[in-house]
C-alpha cells in the first residue's frame, strides 16, 4: 500500500483513497478519422509498460476526485513526484 501525495488536497493519504488511471501523456488524437487503424489502435491499446521511472495518472477517487500526474518507479514503487494535471504535457517538459 502506497502513501500518495495529492497535489490538490496537499496531503499524503493512503492508497485506498486513490485509483490508478493508466499511463500519462496519452493524448487523444485530434482527428481520429484522419489516422490509420494502426495509429488508432496504438492510442487505444498500446502502452509502454516501462520498467523504471514511469509517469502515470491517478485519481483521488475517495477524496477531491481530481486526476493528477504521478512519477513512480515500477521497480521499487517509490513515488518520485506528483503534479497537478496540465502542469506538464510530456515526460521531458518541465
Amino acid at each position: 500500500m502506497l502513501l500518495i501525495h495529492c497535489p490538490y488536497c496537499k496531503e499524503s493519504r493512503d492508497q485506498s483513497e486513490f485509483s490508478p488511471a493508466g499511463e500519462a501523456f496519452i493524448a487523444r488524437p485530434k482527428n481520429p478519422e484522419g489516422i490509420s487503424d494502426d495509429e488508432w489502435a496504438d492510442y487505444v491499446f498500446y502502452r509502454t509498460n516501462h520498467k523504471g521511472n514511469h509517469w502515470e495518472q491517478w485519481v483521488h477517487a475517495n477524496g477531491c476526485r481530481k486526476y493528477f500526474l504521478v512519477e513512480r518507479s515500477t521497480i521499487s514503487h517509490q513515488i518520485l513526484q506528483v503534479a497537478p494535471f496540465g502542469a506538464r504535457n510530456s515526460e521531458t517538459e518541465l
Partner: protein
C-alpha cells in the same frame, strides 16, 4: 524435564497451569510456551512428517520450528497449524498435533517403499498417469497439516494504524540499543519497537547469560525503555508478542500481535481482540531481526530430540527445561562450547564434537577441559542412532582433501539421549527482502547478509553479521545515528569502533557437508516437507540449475516454516553439487508473510455487516413492510418481487407484470445513477460521450443515450433530461453509476479541460417512483394538478416540473416497460411519502408494486437491453442492432466512434443480440445456455430468458454469431439437467422485440 533449582525471568514457578495436549493432561507454568511445557513433561513427540510419516519432535524454540505444528482449541476458537513454540501457555489450553504421531499411519507402514518416493513422486506417479483426481482425497488426508476449521471464528480481531518516524524491528540487544539511541537523542520523534517474544532481550539470555555485564546492561536498558513508554505512549510504543510479518513498499510494515491469555478466552468482554494487526507507516526502519541457527547434516538427522544448540540453551535458561541427561553437542563454530558450559554448570553430562580440527575458543575450551568435558575435534557425525528417539551417534574423522570434505577412518559410537547441533547462523533477512533488497554471501560469517545501503533503513546486530553482544549494541548505536541524521535530528554523527571480529565472533568453519554424508539416504534438509539431500541431487540430475527451480521441484522451503532452518543448508548442498559458489547461486525469494497470519486477523472488524457498505433507498422500510424479497445490485438492496401470502416467485412476477401491462404498477427506481451535468458546454459534453445527437434537445425534453468506451464497446445507457441549455440530468445504470461518473470526470479533467462542464453525483439526493401502466395518466392527474398531462401536451420523452402531493417534483415521461409511464423525482427525504401517496391514490386501479424481476421481464418483452447482462464489454451498438443510435454528422468524433470502422468490429460472424423463441412455448431456457449449430458447435449463448405473462410464452435474448442475418432460422440450445442429463431445446431466432412491436402502448389508452 525441569531443573530443580532454576530461577527464570521468563517463567513464574509460583503459578502452575493445566493444559491438554493430544487428549492427555499436563501441567506447566505461567510464562511457558506449549513447547517448553511439553518438553518439561518429557512429551517429545509432536507430529508425523508430511511424506514418509516419520515421527518428529521439536528442533527449535521459536518461529523457525518446522515440526511442532498443532491445532489450538476447538469449535469457534479452533486455529490450525500453529507452532507449539509460538503458543504462550494459559490455563485450560487444549491443543492437538496437526498429524497425530501416535496414530497408525499408512506411510510408516510402507517404509520399505520410501526409497521409491523421491522428489516429484506424486506428480510422476499420479498426475502424469492422470489418476490424481481419484487418489487426491486419500493422499491429502496424510498431508501432515491440521484440518481446516469448520465453524465460524468467534474471536474478535482488530486493526490499528500507526505513523512513526522510526520503527525498530527486533527486541534483542541490537534492537533495544537502537531504540534507546534514537529516543535519547531526539525530542519528539515517534518510535515503535516490535518484538515477537514476550520479553525483550532476544538471545542475550542464552549466548550471554553468564556475562554479568550483559545482564546489567539489559536490566538498565529495559528500565530506561519502560520509562520512555510510561512518559508518553505517543513518543514510544512497545509491541511485544508481536511479529512483523511483512514489510511493503514505502516502509509500510504489518505486525501481528497475539494476545493469548486465559482471560482473553474466557473474558466477559466479548469485544476484546484476540489478535491485532498493526499497520505502521515509518519514515525510517531499523532492522535488528537477529539470526536463526541452522542445523548440521547427517543421516537420520530428524530423530526426536535432535535440536538446535541455541534452542537447547533457550529451553534451559528461559524455561529451566532440558530434554536429555546425556548430551552430544555438535557443530562447526564456537557457540557449541558455550552450550557445553551452560550444560555442565547445570550438572548435565555432555560431549562436544567439533568438525573443525583447529582449536576452539581458548577460554571456554580450557574451562571445559578443566571440568572434564570431552571435546572431539576434527570429527563429523555421520549418523544418528535410534528408531524414533535418538540413542547415540556414529562419528568419523573429517578432513579437507583436494576435491572437498571427506570423512574417513573407523566409526566410533557415542551414546546420548539429546543431540544439540549448530551449523552457523542465518541472518533473518526475510523482511528486508520482502520489498526488494538483495542479499550477498559473506565468507567470514558464512551467511547471506542484507545488502549494505538502502534508503530509509539500517540493519544492525546479528542480522548484519554481528556476533558479540557488545558489537551488536555499538553497531545499533552507530546505525541509529545514521537514522537520526536521515531524519534531520542530528547533524554530527557519533560513531564508535566495532571489534575486529565483529562478524567472526563464532569462528564458523566453511559451509560444507562431506560427500559421503550427502550421498546417504535420510539426510533431511527440510523437515516439514521431507526433502533430503538426495532429492536435491535428483533435481540437479534432472536438469534444474536455478535454486528457484530446485526449490519448486523438491518442495524445499514450501512448508509453514518457509524453510527458516533448512533452506540455506539446501542451497549449500545444491551449490556443492553444482560446483557453484554459494554467492553465485543465491537464495530463493523471501516473500511475505514471515510467519502465519490468521485470516480473522487480516479481516479484522471488516466482516458481516462491515464487509461491504449496504445501500437502501429511502423507501426501503415500505418494501420490507410489504413483504418484498430483495436482491443486491451493486451495493443496493432492491426489491426483487413482492410475494403475497402463498405466492412463489413465479406467481408473484406473473401478477406484477400483468398489472403493469393491463392497469397500473409502481416501482422504486431510486437506485439508478443520477449525474448532474452543468456548464455552458454541457450539451457539447453529452454529445461527445453519447453516440447520438444532443445539440437540438429542447429544455423540457429527455433522450435515451448509449455510452461507449474508446474501444467502441457499450459501457452504459440511460435517459438524460435537458433542464435548460446549461443543465442536464443524466441517469446511468444502477451498477454502472460509479464507474461512469469516474470515466466522465477523466474525460473532463484529462482531455477536455477546455470544456465548461461540472459534474456532481446526485443519486442519493433524489428518490424516484415510477408509475407504470395504461392507467398511469389518470393517476398522475389525481396526484398533481399544476401539470397538463394531456398526451399531446406532455409527450413521451418529456419532463415537467410540478407539485406532486405538495412536494416539488420533476416528472419524466419515460418508460422501461413500453407502457405509459411517469417517473416522479423528488428530494430523497420525500421518497417514502410520495411512494405511500401513490399507493393510496392508485388503489382504485389496483396499483401493484413490482420489483427488479418483473422490470426485467417487462423490458425483455420490449427487447430493451440491460448493459452488463445482454452486453459484456465486447458488444458494439451494431452488435445489439442499435445502429440507429449512431449520429453521423456530429462535428466532434465522439468517444468510441473511430473504433466502429475498424475491420474487426465489422465482421459478419460477430456475436449479435437477437431474440430466441422456443418451439415449445412453455420451456424457459436457463440463462447462460449455449446455442449450438447443426455440428453441435457453440455459436453463442443466452443472455436473458423469462416467461412472459402477457404473451403467455417463454422469451429469450441471445448473443449469436451473425445472428441478425439468421432471423427465423432454427437452432438448438444445449442444457445440462441434473437428472435427465443433456437436453437440446429447439428454438427459432427472432427479432428481440416480442411485444407491442409498433410501440402503441406507450401513449396509454386515454
Amino acid at each position: 524435564m525441569r531443573l530443580a533449582q532454576h530461577s527464570s525471568h521468563q517463567v513464574n514457578y509460583s503459578k502452575s497451569l493445566n493444559f491438554i495436549f493430544n487428549n492427555k493432561r499436563y501441567k506447566g507454568y505461567e510464562g511457558d510456551t506449549l513447547a517448553s511445557a511439553l518438553l518439561a513433561n518429557d512429551a517429545l513427540l509432536f507430529t508425523r512428517s508430511f511424506k514418509y510419516g516419520r515421527k518428529r519432535g521439536l528442533i527449535a524454540a521459536g518461529v523457525e520450528e518446522p515440526n511442532a505444528l498443532v491445532s489450538l482449541e476447538i469449535g469457534g476458537r479452533y486455529t490450525p497449524n500453529l507452532k507449539a513454540t509460538e503458543i504462550t501457555l494459559y490455563d485450560g489450553l487444549s491443543a492437538v498435533s496437526a498429524s497425530n504421531p501416535n496414530a497408525f499411519d499408512m506411510r510408516a507402514f510402507i517404509k520399505p517403499l520410501h526409497r521409491f518416493m523421491p522428489a516429484g513422486f506424486y506428480y510422476k506417479t499420479f498426475i502424469k498417469q492422470k489418476v490424481w483426481a481419484k487418489v487426491e482425497d486419500s493422499i491429502r488426508a496424510f498431508s501432515g497439516f491440521s484440518k481446516a476449521p469448520t465453524e465460524e471464528d468467534v474471536d474478535v480481531y482488530d486493526h490499528i494504524f500507526h505513523h512513526a518516524e522510526v520503527v525498530v524491528i527486533g527486541g534483542g540487544a541490537a534492537g533495544i540499543s537502537a531504540a534507546l539511541e534514537v529516543l535519547n537523542n531526539s525530542q519528539k520523534e515517534r518510535v515503535i519497537l516490535v518484538d515477537e517474544r514476550s520479553q525483550l532481550g532476544g538471545e542475550l539470555f542464552n549466548e550471554f547469560s553468564s556475562d554479568e555485564a550483559a545482564m546489567k546492561w539489559h536490566k538498565d536498558s529495559i528500565n530506561r525503555l519502560l520509562s520512555f513508554a510510561n512518559e508518553s505512549s505517543e513518543r514510544f510504543t512497545l509491541l511485544t508478542q508481536s511479529t512483523a510479518y511483512a514489510w511493503h513498499d514505502q516502509n509500510f510494515i504489518e505486525v501481528l500481535e497475539t494476545i493469548t491469555t486465559a482471560e482473553s478466552l474466557t473474558s466477559s468482554e466479548p469485544e476484546k481482540a484476540r489478535k491485532i494487526v498493526h499497520r505502521i507507516r515509518a519514515k525510517e526502519v531499523i532492522l535488528a531481526t537477529g539470526a536463526h541457527e541452522r542445523p548440521m547434516l547427517f543421516q537420520a538427522n530428524d530423530l526426536t530430540n535432535i535440536m538446535l544448540s541455541q534452542s537447547v540453551r533457550r529451553y534451559l535458561h528461559e524455561y529451566g527445561v532440558i530434554s536429555g541427561k546425556k548430551v552430544v553437542i555438535y557443530g562447526n563454530n564456537d557457540s557449541i562450547y558455550s552450550t557445553a558450559r551452560d550444560l555442565y554448570v547445570n550438572d548435565i553430562e555432555c560431549i562436544v564434537v567439533d568438525v573443525r580440527s583447529s582449536e576452539g575458543p581458548i577460554e571456554i575450551g580450557a574451562e571445559l577441559k578443566h571440568s572434564g568435558v570431552k571435546v572431539l575435534q576434527g570429527y563429523s557425525i555421520v549418523k544418528a542412532l535410534g528408531s524414533h528417539r535418538i540413542k547415540g551417534v556414529e562419528i568419523k574423522q573429517t578432513k579437507l582433501q583436494d576435491n572437498g570434505w571427506h570423512v574417513f577412518g573407523d566409526t566410533q559410537t557415542l551414546s546420548c539421549d539429546l543431540l544439540a547441533t549448530s551449523g552457523g547462523f542465518n541472518p533473518v533477512v526475510h523482511l528486508d527482502c520482502h520489498n526488494g533488497a538483495k542479499t550477498y554471501f559473506d565468507e567470514v560469517s558464512q551467511s547471506f547478509l542484507p545488502q549494505q545501503e538502502r534508503d530509509n533503513r539500517e540493519v544492525c546486530g546479528a542480522v548484519a553479521g554481528a556476533g558479540a553482544w557488545q558489537d551488536a549494541i555499538i553497531d545499533a548505536k552507530n546505525k541509529a545515528q545514521f537514522t537520526l541524521n536521515a531524519l534531520g535530528v542530528v547533524s554530527k554523527l557519533k560513531q564508535e569502533i566495532l571489534s575486529e571480529n565483529y562478524s567472526n565472533y563464532f569462528n564458523i568453519s566453511q559451509f560444507f557437508t562431506p560427500k559421503e554424508i550427502m550421498n546417504m539416504p535420510k539426510v533431511f534438509l527440510d523437515l516439514q516437507n521431507d526433502v533430503t539431500t538426495l532429492d536435491v541431487a535428483l533435481s540437479i540430475r534432472e536438469g534444474y540449475r536455478s535454486i528457484e527451480h530446485i526449490k519448486r521441484y523438491t518442495a524445499m522451503g514450501f512448508g509453514t516454516d518457509q524453510g527458516k532452518t533448512g533452506n540455506i543448508n539446501g542451497i549449500a548442498v545444491a551449490a556443492e553439487l553444482l560446483k557453484t559458489p554459494l554467492s553465485a547461486l543465491g537464495t530463493t525469494t523471501f516473500r511475505p508473510a514471515y510467519t502465519g497470519v490468521d485470516f480473522g486477523a487480516m479481516a479484522g472488524r471488516e466482516i458481516g455487516d462491515f464487509f461491504d457498505p449496504q445501500r437502501y433507498t429511502t423507501i426501503h422500510d415500505s418494501h420490507v413492510a410489504s413483504g418484498a424479497e430483495f436482491e443486491v445490485v451493486g451495493q443496493w438492496h432492491r426489491p426483487w418481487y413482492y410475494p403475497k401470502t402463498g405466492e412463489n416467485m413465479h406467481q408473484a412476477v406473473h401478477r406484477e407484470c400483468l398489472a403493469a401491462r393491463t392497469s397500473l404498477g409502481m416501482m422504486d427506481a431510486s437506485t439508478l445513477g443520477k449525474i448532474d451535468v452543468q456548464g455552458s458546454d454541457a450539451r457539447e459534453f453529452l454529445s461527445r460521450v453519447y453516440t447520438n445527437a444532443w445539440m437540438k434537445l429542447a429544455p423540457g425534453s429527455c433522450r435515451y443515450g448509449l455510452m461507449c468506451n474508446e474501444k467502441g464497446m457499450i459501457i452504459d445507457d440511460g435517459v438524460s433530461a435537458c433542464i435548460n441549455d446549461n443543465h442536464f440530468i443524466m441517469t446511468t445504470t444502477t451498477g454502472g453509476a460509479a464507474s461512469v461518473y469516474s470515466a466522465l470526470e477523466m474525460w473532463l479533467q484529462t482531455e477536455w479541460s477546455d470544456l465548461d462542464v461540472h459534474l456532481n453525483s446526485i443519486t442519493d439526493q433524489y428518490s424516484t417512483v415510477a408509475v407504470v401502466g395504461p392507467n398511469a395518466r389518470k393517476l398522475m392527474k389525481l396526484l398533481c394538478q399544476d401539470v397538463d398531462f394531456e398526451r399531446k401536451n406532455f409527450k413521451f420523452m418529456q419532463w415537467r416540473q410540478g407539485m406532486v402531493c405538495g412536494v416539488d417534483a420533476r416528472i419524466m415521461r419515460i418508460s422501461f416497460s413500453g407502457e405509459l409511464a411517469y417517473e416522479i423525482n423528488v428530494e430523497a427525504n420525500y421518497g417514502r411519502y410520495i411512494w405511500d401517496q401513490v399507493a393510496i391514490a392508485g388503489e382504485k386501479w389496483n396499483i401493484t408494486p413490482y420489483g427488479t424481476e418483473s422490470m426485467h421481464v417487462l423490458r425483455a418483452e420490449k427487447g430493451y437491453i440491460i448493459v452488463g447482462q445482454d452486453t459484456d464489454g465486447s458488444m458494439t451498438p451494431m452488435d445489439v442492432n442499435m445502429s440507429w443510435i449512431l449520429a453521423k454528422d456530429k462535428p466532434y468524433s465522439y468517444v468510441g466512434r473511430r473504433s466502429f470502422s475498424i475491420s474487426a468490429l465489422r465482421t459478419e460472424d460477430r456475436l449479435q443480440l437477437v431474440g430466441l423463441l422456443t418451439k415449445d412455448s412453455s420451456t424457459v431456457i436457463p440463462e447462460g445456455a449455449h446455442v449450438i449449430d447443426n455440428k453441435a458447435k457453440s455459436i453463442g449463448y443466452v443472455t436473458s430468458s423469462y416467461f412472459s405473462p402477457i404473451l403467455d410464452r417463454s422469451i429469450a435474448m441471445a448473443q449469436i454469431q451473425g445472428g441478425l442475418a439468421k432471423i427465423d432460422e432454427t437452432v438448438l440450445v444445449k442444457i445440462v439437467q441434473k437428472k435427465q442429463g443433456l437436453k437440446e431445446i429447439p428454438c427459432e431466432i427472432s427479432s428481440s422485440v416480442f411485444y407491442d412491436i409498433e410501440g402503441e402502448k406507450v401513449d396509454g389508452n386515454d
